[in-house]
Amino acid sequence: MTGFMTLLQKEWKEQTRNFKVLWIPLVFIILGILEPVSNYYLPEIMKSVGNMPEGAEFLWPEFTGEEIFMSLLGQYQFIGILVIVLAFMGSISGERKTGTATLLYVRPISYRAYFLSKWIVLNGIVLASVWLGFLAAWYYISILFNSVNALEVFGFIATYSLWIMFVVTAVLAFSASFSTGIAATLSLLLTIGFQIVDSLIGEYWTISPWKLPFYATSVFNGNNDAAGLWWSVCITFIAVLVSIFAGVNMSKRNAAKTTV
């Protein structure tokens, strides 16, 4: 894989200098803190803002720490994925369009090194962001709600991380295959769109990458469908590998489309 280390450095420099290495983690951490804090103070906020009739008492459901984790996952599933897709949709297609890719492609690099260097740096940033977000949430949950079992939290994060890796790989492979606009559309369809489909009619099957976030939360509920979880993990792993393979090949095939 000629040039892999150099490309890895280039990719890291890029993500540092365009601040993605800073703002993406910040967004996930802020969301991670916001969720427990706002849920904890929601009754008070409503009381002070809403003009409720004297004596009226709303019964606010008592949330558990586990439930806060689940609702944070809901935030990540929408806002988080939107951020990932929008931030990285042009990773390869953008380089082709502006023509900056040309001076890379005329060098004896391997497209495997080219694609994997991006894959590693992007996954590194996004996974670190998700982890930091959940850890921050965990800390706040333990103060404001109840302390959640560490083993459960790590199981939850690990399962969800595989799903996030699937999302990042898909975005990157789409960017290798299509123009930025199409890549973004397909990425959102595949992640958020299919997620909605799966939640509507997904009861008919138990194995799919889109079930992974659900299985992640099931760590807390205890309604463990171990077979479904492990098969979904396997399927997602395979999907990631296939996407990498496709991404490498499409990067190579589309090299001629770079602006000269």
Binding site: N18, W23, L26, L34, V37, A87, T98
Partner: protein
């Protein structure tokens, strides 16, 4: 004034600090580069008054990378 004291600052402060860092990073980037999609003054307003969402949409849509 007792209400202010009731606010659990030790919990809220980190949140405010992080949001502030995000905003400052976005502002520094705008002012240093001045290469934005659309007038950069507009982005300064969006970042300053749009809090979390403002900074995010600047980084996603406002930043010019070429």
């Amino acid at each position: 004034m007792s209400e202010l004291a009731d606010v659990p600052w030790n919990l809220i402060l980190p949140l405010l600090v992080l949001q502030f860092i995000l905003m400052i990073v976005a502002l520094i980037d705008v002012i240093r580069n001045k290469r934005t999609n659309g007038p950069y003054i507009m982005w300064i307003f969006i970042i300053t008054f749009g809090s979390l969402i403002g900074s995010i949409i600047y980084f996603v849509f406002g930043r010019k990378n070429d």
